[in-house]
């Protein structure tokens, strides 16, 4: 199931976090607004060649810095490397980065 990746934004101080928290690490606020993760930039990429529990199928993962602030660990949809602009979506609720359509 593919959908938007949601990033909670603190209603009090606007801090965006990922993964979700209970209280805002910046101001202690407890009220959150859901915002789309949107765009980001790939920082590092690695391929795990024989991941435990994945039947030996290699998986490529990246750390992606969202324009909104937080870094998310995402799998990559397509050939992408450090510095590439990407859009974050959610597949089964988990982050997937695909090339930005800009």
């Amino acid at each position: 199931m593919r959908g938007s990746l949601w990033v909670p934004a603190c209603r009090t101080c606007r801090r965006k976090v990922f993964p979700p928290r209970l209280l805002c690490p910046a101001c202690g606020g407890a009220s959150w607004k859901r915002e789309r993760a949107g765009q980001g930039v790939v920082e590092e990429v690695t391929t795990v060649h024989h991941p435990v529990g994945a039947d030996g199928v290699a998986v490529t993962l990246a750390s992606v810095r969202l324009d909104a602030g937080p870094v998310v660990v995402a799998s990559l949809d397509g050939q992408l490397g450090p510095g590439d602009h990407v859009e974050l979506v959610a597949v089964e609720g988990a982050p997937v980065a695909r090339p930005s359509e800009v």
């Binding site: 976090v17 920082e43 795990v48 435990v52 993962l61 995402a74 982050p95």
Partner: protein, 378 residues
């Protein structure tokens, strides 16, 4: 109340493929017996128990007390993985000094088969279960591969730099019959190993073994007790919002050295938590063993020249990582060295040791860091 000391230490032999019938609790019992013998105590002297294990369920600490025949007035269970050893030590010291217990047995160990390990990494915490496991991320190797790339880029390091550290530790392992991986390693051999996750090869990832470690903390002891000069901890200092290239030791270091009345230049050996080589360098930098950004020079001048006895058991990278015992492994090695019981790998005149713990990846990197300075009681 007298100061608490470490009166003994022991380790159930680490094994890649343990004998049939080996269980987490049989390993814990084996480590406990060795530590008691080393302390010159019988189980009846123990009135406090602390334990950390990822695979003790459905049992808990009190079940273990029952099965070990211990009558206790102090009991705790710790869940902090690579930071559990020093965390339990911190609590045990306070318990003894407050008079709540006279002698505390501190235990950690695991036997994790492939299935158990797979389940552990996929369900490590809720954030992992919800946001990493669906990516089939394969456990911490992927996260530390990303972190190591960041470390390389930040400090101008190359794979050879980590290789020097891994090879130096392997050299120590060759002198430790308790280490699982002891064959000498060359830089060419290190670089030729297939990658697990760029830039990490299998030599950069602590191999999972079965084993357990134990300490006895008490108000005195036969033989040569080891004093705890200082102990500091830091949990969740960066909210997982920083890049993981510093640990909580960056803040805790100054007060650690001040309380211990010493500094990095005056320790005779360092047992630094080593799930991955980058983490060793990061902690050493945090604790002031070298200046900010000088990891490359430290590797060339100190590691390569063997100027600092570092992870003298071979560390987890060569001795193996026995689950939660990883957080106690460095303490046990420090005690052996400071008591002059390290045989072929004994560091001359070992008087003062630094030991660190690190662990519990919440999402991107470890959130727990702690360190202690131990000293031989003259």
């Amino acid at each position: 109340m007298p100061d608490a000391v470490i009166a003994g230490a022991g380790e159930a032999p680490y094994r890649r493929h343990p004998p049939r019938g080996t269980t987490t609790e049989s390993l814990l019992a084996g480590a406990a017996r060795r530590a008691l013998r080393n302390a010159g105590l019988t189980p009846s002297a123990i009135d406090g128990l602390a334990v950390a294990s990822f695979s003790l369920a459905p049992d808990h600490a009190v079940d273990l007390a029952w099965k070990l025949g211990l009558r206790l007035r102090w009991l705790m269970e710790d869940t902090n993985g690579g930071a559990a050893g020093i965390n339990m030590l911190q609590h045990a010291v306070r318990a003894v000094e407050a008079g709540d217990a006279a002698a505390v047995l501190v235990l950690a160990g695991d036997r994790l088969d492939r299935q158990a390990f797979s389940e552990l990494v996929a369900g490590y915490n809720a954030a992992t279960r919800d946001y990493l496991a669906p990516l089939c991320f394969g456990g911490p190797n992927a996260l530390f591969a990303l972190l190591t790339q960041r470390h390389m880029a930040r400090h101008g390091l190359v794979r050879e730099d980590y290789g020097e550290l891994v090879i130096a530790q392997r050299e120590w392992a060759g002198r430790n019959p308790g280490a699982v991986y002891r064959e000498p390693l060359t830089l060419a051999g290190y670089l030729a190993a297939p990658l697990v996750a760029e830039p990490l090869s299998r030599y950069d990832c602590a191999p999972i073994v079965a084993g357990a470690d134990a300490l006895v903390v008490s108000s005195g002891g036969a033989g040569r007790p080891v004093a705890i000069r200082a102990l500091k901890a830091s949990y969740n200092p960066d909210q997982q919002e920083a890049d993981g290239l510093r640990t909580g030791l960056a803040q805790a270091g100054d007060s650690l050295w001040e309380e211990a009345g010493t500094g990095p230049e005056d320790v005779d050996l360092a047992l630094v938590y080593d799930d991955y080589p980058a983490i060793v360098l990061i902690q050493l930098e945090d604790l002031g063993f070298f200046g900010e950004g000088e990891a490359k020079r430290f590797v060339a001048q100190t590691v390569r020249q063997r100027r600092l006895p570092l992870n003298t058991s071979g560390g987890q990278l060569s001795a193996g990582q026995a689950g939660a015992a990883g957080g106690l492994h460095g303490l046990v090695e420090a005690v052996r060295q400071l008591r002059g019981e390290a045989r072929d790998r004994q560091v001359d005149e070992a008087r003062r040791a630094l030991v660190t713990g690190y662990g519990m990846v919440l999402y991107q990197h470890g959130a727990c860091a702690n360190a202690t300075v131990l000293e031989r009681v003259p």
